[in-house]
């Protein structure tokens, strides 16, 4: 008697399929992967000042772009594409098969992780060549970078899947999700220096994970001397970790408990 394939095994297969489908949508591939690079090009060309001794705005912005890339690629794309898949009956069909929900989620997580790696590579390359962005040299910073990307990616995936229950239809999803993401980016210090924002904006942003991801990325890409200029006068690495884990748990909880396979 043959056994049903394991959830992890199917999840990996789904990941491969998701990547293949994504890669065939040429417009969205180019747009999704190059969007942070385009933004860096615009902001890097407009703001040529240094925001602190030895810290260019481009350097500050790269940190913000990686963080918000996680939100765009993970949260935003899933919260929009999953309702579209639901609209055309694709999710209902999957639910009728022995493939478990966890495999579907793993597949999405793999897709997001792979596109994040490509996006970051492009951003690094472009930043190094055209905007003199400096890469950290200490191994400890790369360690922080790695767990931030992994945890941030997982968090964005889980929250994107969880939020996919909110839009009623695929057509309306973008209108619901995009403004949230854009406002969050402004509030979280992606486009502006966070400490220059009004206090209420800072406090509101501190509830959501993007602010912490962005701050975490600054701890990687900015000199440690800059930490004194943060709101808490430190990078708050431990707190960042805890808040991201908390949001990951919230995202997974709602994804598992509330995921909608069908329109009604």
């Amino acid at each position: 008697m043959n056994k049903i394939p394991s959830a992890l095994n199917l999840g990996i297969r789904r990941g491969g399929l998701e990547i293949r489908q994504f890669a065939r949508q040429r417009e969205s591939v180019v747009f999704t992967l190059l969007f942070p690079v385009i933004l860096l090009a615009i902001f890097g060309s407009v703001f040529k000042d240094t925001i602190a001794p030895g810290v260019t705005f481009s350097q500050y912005f790269v940190a913000g772009m990686i963080a918000s890339g996680l939100v765009n690629t993970g949260f935003q794309s899933l919260a929009i594409t999953i309702p579209m898949e639901r609209d055309v009956g694709g999710l209902k069909r999957l639910r009728g098969t022995p493939m478990p929900a966890s495999s579907y989620f793993i597949g999405k997580a793999i897709l997001i992780a792979v596109s994040m790696i490509i996006q970051i590579t492009l951003l690094f390359g472009f930043g190094l060549i055209f905007f003199g962005v400096e890469m950290p040299t200490e191994p400890s910073k790369w360690l922080t970078f790695t767990w931030l990307v992994l945890l941030g990616s997982a968090c964005a995936t889980a929250l994107g899947i969880a939020f996919s229950i909110v839009p009623k239809s695929g057509r309306g999803a973008s209108a619901v999700v995009s403004p949230i993401v854009i406002i969050l980016q402004f509030f979280s210090g992606v486009f502006f220096v966070f400490t220059q924002l009004p206090t209420w904006m800072q406090q509101l942003a501190a509830i959501f994970p993007l602010k912490w991801l962005t701050q975490g990325m600054r701890s990687v890409f900015l000199p440690d001397s800059f930490a004194a200029q943060e709101v808490a006068k430190s990078w708050e690495t431990g707190r960042t970790f805890l808040i991201l884990v908390l949001w990951l748990v919230i995202g997974v909880f709602f994804s598992v408990r509330k995921f909608k396979w069908d329109r009604d």
């Binding site: 008697m1 043959n2 056994k3 049903i4 394939p5 199917l10 297969r13 399929l17 293949r20 489908q21 065939r24 949508q25 898949e85 055309v88 009956g89 694709g90 999710l91 209902k92 069909r93 639910r95 009728g96 098969t97 022995p98 493939m99 478990p100 396979w261 069908d262």
Partner: protein, 283 residues
Amino acid sequence: MNVIEVKGLKKSYGQVHAVRGVDLSIPAGEIFALLGPNGAGKTTTVEILEGFRSRDAGQISILGFDPQTQGHAARKWRDRIGIVLQSAADAGDLTVIETVEHFSGYYSKPRNVDEVIAAVGLEDKTGALIRNLSGGQRRRLDVALGIIGSPELLFLDEPTTGFDPEARRVFWALIEQLRGDGTTILLTTHYLDEAEALADRVAVINKGLIVEVSTPTELGGRATSKALVSWRDGSQVKTEESDNPTSVIARLTTQFEGEIPELAVTRPSLEDIYLKMIGGVDE
């Protein structure tokens, strides 16, 4: 043991009683058609059996499982059933063979991918992107995905909607082939001729209740119902209902001394019977 056993199934949406006490028993290997107008409770019933909807009351056993089973047991159950839904238009960027191959990986004992593609008549389209398939070809792909796991029980929801007559014949032949493999099939359809061609038994559901379960030839007393003899007498078309149409014709033969003008003998079609049963309303 019956593959499908339903007793006293009920489901309401607020004040609307969609299903008001449905009983069904379907033995292994049978092709069973569920007929009914829109809003009769057909879709609700089938979706409850498929595990897509919860129920308010009643007992259900599908291959010995309750469709509300969760977790690993649910996976083992779904491994043995196949579902062809009304429409799915996803995965347009994948090819036919990629999709069928991927779905075959979900099951413990999948059919051969190439054989399934050939069985639904898509062997010339294996490398085509799904978004470039015609409506009928897409529908055949839906069926391929429904049978790839070699299900013991197959749910077919309006399988031939949008097919041209020839494609429907080809599809019917495929269903006959599945019957030969011993697959139990629950078919819902709007096409009475389809039910007549395929089903061993049909059930008519109306206003949330099963009106009758019978063979297509006996439904609504069809086999024993009176024949209608019609002919032309001068400028008038005359009709006569009779249990013995032959004697009517013999009488007419003497009356007309030979050929009877425009003679026709008809028995009610399945459609006539069906429309009568659901009160002549099929919105």
